[in-house]
């Protein structure tokens, strides 16, 4: 059994609404281990994004405890949670979310600037991660000049450049065509195997699902099914 890097114990997220509180996440207990390639699936509104936000320390649980890399998400200061994201967690979004005024290189470099890495280190790390996703030749391009698939590759490079422990991806293939979706997931799968980075997706995409080695079905904020598909060790 691999080491557990995320532990959720009876986690709930409540949103206040007009008529009392709404449970977007309802009493979820889960463990994620190092090197998992795992998908959260479920209908719209089932709580996938909410759960990812808690895992990424962008939000805190209302009830229960969420421990990521041993840190209790509910108890982190702003600074600690920023540090956690900066060094250990990469994000990939449905709409890529590259900064439009910066080049591909600079978009990927930003995380490393926050880590105060030297220019030489930055250059090496950025070019390496652009190589991994196969767009090193676009380093000087602006995001607006790239296709959707290329943008999402830049986003993967940006998430991977810091060699994070965890990558959280919210519907990464939803804006891509079939061919690009598969290529993106293949790329991520390769990185997952090479670096043992834990990938957690929220997805609807059938094409993505066949690459997953664990699928967690969510419904109404609860785990409906937690299925391990092909154990790799």
């Amino acid at each position: 059994m691999r080491e557990a890097i995320i532990r959720l114990e009876s986690v709930s997220k409540l949103y206040p609404t007009g008529s009392g509180n709404f449970r977007a996440i309802n009493n979820i207990s889960l463990v994620f281990t190092k090197g998992e390639f795992c998908g959260l699936v479920g209908p719209s509104g089932s709580g996938k994004t909410t759960l990812l936000n808690i895992l990424g320390s962008l939000d805190t649980p209302t009830e229960g405890t969420a421990k990521v890399l041993g840190r209790d998400i509910g108890k982190l200061t702003h600074k600690e949670s920023a540090q956690l994201r900066n060094y250990h967690i990469g994000f990939i979004f449905q709409t890529y979310n590259l900064l439009p005024v910066y080049t591909v290189f600079e978009n990927v470099e930003f995380t490393l600037l926050l880590q105060r890495k030297t220019a030489v280190e930055r250059k090496k790390l950025v070019m390496d991660s652009l190589e991994w996703v196969g767009i090193a030749d676009k380093a000087k391009s602006m995001p607006a000049q790239l296709s959707g698939g290329e943008c999402q590759r830049v986003a993967i490079a940006r998430a991977m450049v810091k060699r994070p422990d965890i990558v959280l991806a919210d519907e990464p293939s939803a804006n891509l065509d079939a061919e690009n979706s598969i290529r993106i997931v293949e790329t991520m799968k390769q990185l997952n195997m090479e670096f043992l980075t834990t990938f957690i997706f929220a997805t609807h995409d059938e094409k993505v699902m066949k690459f997953l080695d664990r699928i967690i079905h969510l419904k109404d904020g609860m785990v409906e099914l937690d299925k391990i598909i092909n154990k790799t060790s």
Partner: protein, 423 residues
């Protein structure tokens, strides 16, 4: 990191160029408006000073108490040496004798008998001394409707309306009935050199301008004058005038002769004090309203700039930047933009104001007729206040806009900022 931020600032025009233009434009307008209003106000003060009040005025103490009656018998004796002394004591100032009088103009026919008679108000001023500034003060050259300025002491200028009404033309002679210094009748012949317009119906009905020497002679007033008007080198300045009048009056502090010379300031005459204060208050109010409006615009620009960038902040947060660092960078950017915008705005505003001050805008063409009582050229007037009146609100409101919009970064939960990343 700083280079990274500056690069972003430069590349994103809506973050740099547009706020910069808005700020510097607003600041520029404020500076120009302020200088322009100050200029217009001082222009109308000058007009008053030129015609009636001077920047300061010297008369006898007795005269000063009944000034409205202009009693010639209370005039200063030994006025010429006093004028000389004043010019010497207060470098850069100009001092002139003026005699205002009332009288009857008697227009004779060919046989020399009275054809018509009309009342006039009269001014006598120095028209003939070389380098006299009085012609300019009364704007006589431009107000001339026909004929020319007097070249001899026995020539005078009549208002055009009067000349037409009494059918008297250039080169015609008339008799002026008036009073002498001692109160007896005076009769003097004058030739019409030209006709003029004051621009005020009441005065244009009957007014006469003659040389000061002619008046002295006909009123028996050689070397004396009811009023000596003093002018500073440039426009009216409360402080300078206070200094001079205090200094001058202190010379006679222990003198209780009722004919001792006594100096009053422009603001002591004809309610000019409250007019000066009032016009300054109006000017301040207008500029304040404008500055207020500009601040709101700049503040909103800063606010919008911040709101527009929530998705950028969301990305930066996700990358692991701290909220406080993002907030600080937003404010530093605003300070940078506010500073550059306010500096360029102030400089360009001063440039335009300087042009308007030196060249002025000739508004005499806008009026059907030029006249004595209308300023000919509207000018701006740059004061020290122009340096900060636009600069401070420009900088403060830009930065305040960023400070307030940035609070949104803290108020919103991280996950909400982040949510805005999802389209």
């Amino acid at each position: 990191m700083i280079r990274f931020l500056i690069k972003g600032l430069l590349k994103d025009r809506s973050r740099s160029l547009i706020p910069l233009i808005v700020t510097s434009f607003g600041v520029m307008i404020t500076v120009v408006l302020h200088s322009w209003l100050t200029g217009i106000m001082s222009e109308s003060l000058e007009l008053n000073a030129n015609i009636t009040t001077g920047h300061m005025k010297v008369m006898t103490k007795a005269y000063s108490e009944v000034m409205d009656l202009s009693p010639l018998n209370l005039s200063i004796i030994g006025a010429d040496s006093l004028v000389k002394g004043l010019k010497k004591s207060y470098a850069g100032t100009d001092w002139v004798k003026r005699i205002r009088f009332g009288g009857l103009v008697d227009v004779p026919d060919e046989k020399g008998e009275t054809k018509a008679q009309g009342p006039v108000v009269g001014w006598s001023l120095d028209l003939l001394t070389k380098g006299t500034k009085e012609i300019e003060r009364f704007n006589l050259k431009k107000s001339l409707i026909s004929g020319s300025l007097p070249k001899k002491t026995d020539e005078g200028l009549l208002t055009d309306v009067f000349a037409k009404r009494y059918n008297i033309g250039i080169g015609d002679t008339f008799l002026l009935f008036s009073n002498t210094f001692e109160g007896s009748m005076s009769f003097t012949n004058f030739t019409v050199a030209g006709t003029i317009r004051f621009g005020s119906e009441a005065i244009d009905r009957g007014a006469l301008i003659i040389d000061i020497k002619a008046a002295e002679k006909s009123f028996n007033m050689e070397d004396s004058a009811p009023e000596i008007l003093g002018f500073l080198e440039h426009q009216y300045d409360d402080e300078k005038v206070n200094l001079i009048s205090e200094d001058f009056n202190s010379l006679y502090r222990n003198n209780d002769d009722e004919f001792r010379p006594y100096m009053i300031r422009m603001r002591d005459q004809n309610d000019m004090g409250s007019i000066i204060d009032y016009s300054q208050a109006i000017g301040t109010l207008m500029v304040a309203i404008f500055v207020g409006a500009m601040s709101v615009v700049l503040w909103n620009a800063g606010l919008l700039g911040g709101l527009r960038r929530y998705s950028e902040f969301g990305i930066r947060l996700a990358m692991g930047e701290e909220k406080i660092a993002i907030y600080k960078s937003l404010i530093y950017e605003a300070i940078l933009i506010g500073l550059i915008g306010s500096i360029t705005g102030t400089i360009s505003g001063l440039g335009i104001s300087y042009y308007l001050q030196e060249k002025g805008i000739d508004i005499s063409n806008l009026m059907p007729n030029s006249s004595i009582l209308m300023p000919q050229i509207a000018r701006a007037n740059i004061t020290i206040a122009a340096l900060y009146i636009g600069f401070i609100p420009g900088l403060v409101s830009t930065v305040l806009g960023a400070v307030i919009s940035g609070i949104g970064i803290f108020k919103r939960k991280t996950s909400m900022l982040f949510k805005e990343l999802e389209v």
